[in-house]
């Protein structure tokens, strides 16, 4: 491994194009994680088809253009892809230095949501409508900010070689850093995102090598917090109803249980090979609400069947598996923590999203990474892919 060569392909060297260089043993192309890239792209493409299927007839939201959502989903994917390239180009290490800026910006944005500028969708006050059909969900970006910020703090002294593991002070600082935006998101209230963030924080702490006490302490605190939230009535009525419906789906089949029931009917009716793309009666009949976003998996379940829906799970599995490998194989704790944070994020969000359509998790408004329609989510997951690629292709800093 010669450092000079790698620097060139990282983008700093002279632009000497050519197949030889592209296919050289240590070239960027060789070192990129292609399975992740391929899977993420495939998921986005599948997502675009499913989003199209779910929205082509919904004249009341697609403004009369059946391709409205398809085009936007593809655009989002394109922008996300570009963001990924940008992240790889800049490199996750360089981004570390930008954490204060990113942190400040995302906290500002989520604070903005709490002002009258924000809007409420499905009970969660977590959107900033930009106009022209675009809106922003800053909590998606907060996830990245928390990952980068906490990883920076937790890894700083370890990577510097001062300590084998982050000490208590560092952990406290890191938790404090995460707590501020999480509290704000909780006020929106966007409970689903908070849950994802808690899991991310747990993943980050685990990967950082922080003392077991912190890990279990946080788990305990999380449980206590959940009980407290339940008991103290912090939750809105709709959130309690969702949980109740999850516990007993037949409770109110026309009301809260309706989503889950219809979702399960849609998926269940798909069978092995599904009813065929655009032929799902549940989908065409719009029996499942929020089908292009939170319940997009039901389209796959109904129209593509076990084969198609299983493929989505397998592709997600490839992304997560490769991400785990990246976390384990990178040499720097910073990269390990970032990769592990992304694994925790993707894994939990995918499990929660698919799990709620399958009726094994309560309903929360979380998108399925890559597949669900939604710009903010799409951008952030592709940024995350960029971070993973950057960690993969990284070469150690020449000290």
């Amino acid at each position: 491994m010669t450092g000079a060569n790698s620097f060139q392909v990282s983008g700093y060297g002279p632009a000497r194009a050519g197949w030889t260089r592209l296919l050289a043993r240590d070239s960027l192309a060789r070192r990129l994680d292609w399975p992740i890239l391929f899977s993420a792209l495939a998921l986005s493409m599948i997502g675009s088809v499913l989003v199209f299927s779910a929205t082509r007839n919904r004249t009341e939201i697609n403004q009369g253009d059946p391709y409205y959502f398809l085009i936007r989903h593809l655009m989002n994917t394109g922008i996300g892809f570009a963001l990924m390239i940008g992240v790889v180009w800049v490199g996750h290490r360089t981004l570390r230095t930008a954490v204060p800026l990113l942190y400040g910006a995302s906290v500002f944005l989520i604070l903005l949501v709490l002002t009258p500028l924000g809007s409420t969708v499905n009970g969660a006050h977590s959107w900033i409508v930009l106009g022209g059909g675009f809106s922003l969900q800053p909590s998606e970006f907060v996830k990245i900010t928390i990952i980068l910020g906490m990883a920076m703090l937790l890894a700083a002294r370890v990577d510097a070689g001062d300590k084998p593991y982050p000490d208590h002070r560092t952990v406290l600082q890191a938790l404090g850093l995460a707590a501020v935006p999480m509290l704000i998101v909780m006020l929106m209230p966007d409970l689903g995102s908070v849950m994802v963030m808690v899991i991310i924080v747990l993943g980050l702490l685990l990967a950082s090598g922080a003392s077991n006490r912190w890990v279990f302490g946080l788990l305990g605190a999380g449980t206590l917090g959940a009980v407290a939230v339940w008991q103290l009535g912090v939750l809105d009525e709709y959130q309690i109803a969702r949980f109740a419906a999850f516990a007993n789906p037949s409770l109110d089949p026309a009301g809260v249980g309706y989503n889950t029931n219809q979702a399960r009917i849609a998926i269940g009716s798909g069978g092995l090979t599904g009813s065929g793309l655009f032929h799902g009666s549940q989908t065409t009949g719009q029996f499942v609400p929020e089908q292009q976003t939170d319940f997009v998996f039901t389209v796959a379940g109904e129209e593509l069947g076990f084969v198609g829906a299983g493929l989505i799970i397998v592709l997600l599995g490839i992304v997560l598996w490769r991400a785990c490998r990246i976390a384990r194989e990178t040499t720097e704790l910073y990269g390990t923590i970032v990769a592990a944070g992304i694994v925790a994020w993707f894994a939990f969000q995918a499990f929660e999203n698919i799990g709620m359509t399958l009726g094994i998790m309560p309903v929360t408004g979380l998108p399925l990474p890559f597949v669900s329609y939604g710009g903010s989510s799409m951008f952030s997951v592709w940024v995350a892919v960029g971070l993973l690629q950057s960690i993969k292709v990284q070469r150690p800093m020449s000290a």
Binding site: S281, C324, T336, I354
Partner: protein
Amino acid sequence: MTNIPETGRTPRVQIRLVVIQILVLSLLGTLGGRLWYLQIREGDAYAKEASGNHVQQVVEPAVRGSILDARGVPLADNETRLVVSASRTDLLKMKDDGKAVLAKLAKVLGMPAKDVLLKVRLCDAKTPQPCWNGSPYQPIPITDEATPKQALQIRERAEDFPGITAEPEAVRRYAAPGKSNTAQVLGYLSPVTDEEITKAQDTDSPYLRSDQVGRSGLERQYDKALRGKAGVTRYEVDNLGRVIGQAEADEAQPGANLVTSIDARVQRVAEYELNDAMKIARTQFDKITGENYKADSGAVVVMEAKTGRIVAMASAPTYDPNVWVGGISAKDYKKLTGKNSDYPLLNRAIQGQSAPGSTFKVVSTAAALEAGYEWDGGYPCTSSYSVGGQVFKNFEGESFGPISLGRALEVSCDTVFYGLADREWKKDGGINPKKGEPKDYFYKTAHQFGLGKPTGIDLPNEVTGRVPDRQWKQDYWKANKDSWCKTGKKDGTYVEKIAYENCLEGNKMREGDSINYSIGQGDTLVTPIQEAKIYGALANGGTMYEPTIGKAIVSADGRTVQEIKPKAVGRLPIDQASLKGMDTALEGVVTRGTAAWKFGGWPQDKIPLHAKTGTAEVYGKQTTSWLATYSKDYTVIMTIAQAGTGSGASGEAVRSIYNALYGVSDDGTINKKNALLPTPEKSLPKIRTDGTIKSPKIAKDPAKDQRASQQSAPEPNETQPAATVNTPTAGNRDTRRRRRKRGSRRMLT
């Protein structure tokens, strides 16, 4: 490479990463497993649920076929009414579930807003009427009596009335052409019940929620043909019930039309005359009970003698079948079926039964012949007949000396039949019959005449009547002996004494039973339609026909015509010579016998009439009158309960019916112009190429016209020979009535 920090690779971190990896994999595995469970293991169940979710049926009801008379005049058809309906799915899309629209609609229709709201709610176990028990995807009718102005208001302001339609729709109508009512023959419709839907689910003619089903009469008998097949369009709908595609559509097939043998004009005349006869009877004084006749019910049948086709069938009291249209109100329903009603739904021509009285003597005559008695044998017609201390008298004690069977039939001599029946009873072994089969000619002949079983007329719920033979006595005794033996007293009241006797030997054929039976009294029960079958056979030379009302089923497009052919079901057990003798005897009844006083002036040489009168005793009630008559082509049977004697109560009425059929005036002149149906209608009405059936105009009230023409007959110089019927002779103007004797046994009938 020592300067390369391996900070991410400490064992603790590595182990934790493996833990994370395992956790992640198990989460994904859980999803995969759950997905397999839902889609593969439970997939079929969910698929079923999904299809129930998004397919909805819209039913386009088939237009029910008409019921027409023999000339094509509609007796039951459909009229176009302006029906205002509300679509629930449209209403529910509105913010207030359409309440405002319905309130507006109520104002236009002039109905209370509350009533309209109640009408559109869906029925369930807890919701009382009014409510909608059809499919929620079906437009719900608010009213079928909208005026054109109201309909226009709704249609012109469609934007004010989203989900409301005002459309002309076919509604059943019982047109009552020429004031004919025909209620019990036509029957009625009512909505299909849940049970019927379930039961008919897997047959080739399943019911739909919105179906009206024939409940009685022809509507029920020919329901399947008349109903047609509703068109069903299965739409795929979305979550709000909006149609997103059309899955399949079966076109509605309109029901077939039923051409009957009823002639609306004759029907009207029959109904009018029956009613009139009953009204007159109520003004007559009954010497036995010491009050006027009640004449509470009656029936008349006019049948083609050579085919068994029914030309008219009326039952009184009657009702207006239109009360069923659009759902019957609770009040009306109670009036028709309640305890205090006079049960006008009963078709007494096929469901009313009573002892036949002397009209039964044609059976007894045939029985005597079968038993080997000579037609011309001299049978003593004494004034009374004594048996073991009981005296059975002839009516008013008249005697005719030894006479033939024919003469006995003509003068309705009870004692002749008493004697014959008594001899047969003794031959069979008396109260304890000989071992082996007793001959029982009198009972066997009754069965051969088709009594004791339904005639098979194409109307539902016909009753069987009863032949009180040994088997019946045995069965009846078995069923009742406990109560008889409990209440019976040897020296008690009349009823108690009878119960006592019945308890002792009610299972046996007693001498008095057989004697009573021979003149149509006692436990024998016949229906008017059974009498029509018998007297029709006497008219046509001995062939018994299954009575029919349906003549042809004509498909709505007129292309297929399924004729209902007359069906001969047997012959009277009488040889031709005796038949001739009976024919002559029954003619004698009209010319000089018990019916003669009502048929004075009848052109008997042109239109020979035959008749037998009957007066049946009913315990605790006034006597039932019977008049069975026939001409060459028709048989007319009329019976009125609690109205006295056969000729007395029904003579004029039956004559008026013949007058109408043949165009006869009171003075006996025949005016073909006034004849409604001098020969039976043989052909079917003309069917136009489009399938509609040509129907002739019908007078406003043929009965009134008939009455008028009957009186204002053209004066003499149109020389119609005057009546060949003699002026009635006193003393024989009535059917024999047997006075109630001590010890005579009668059941309530």
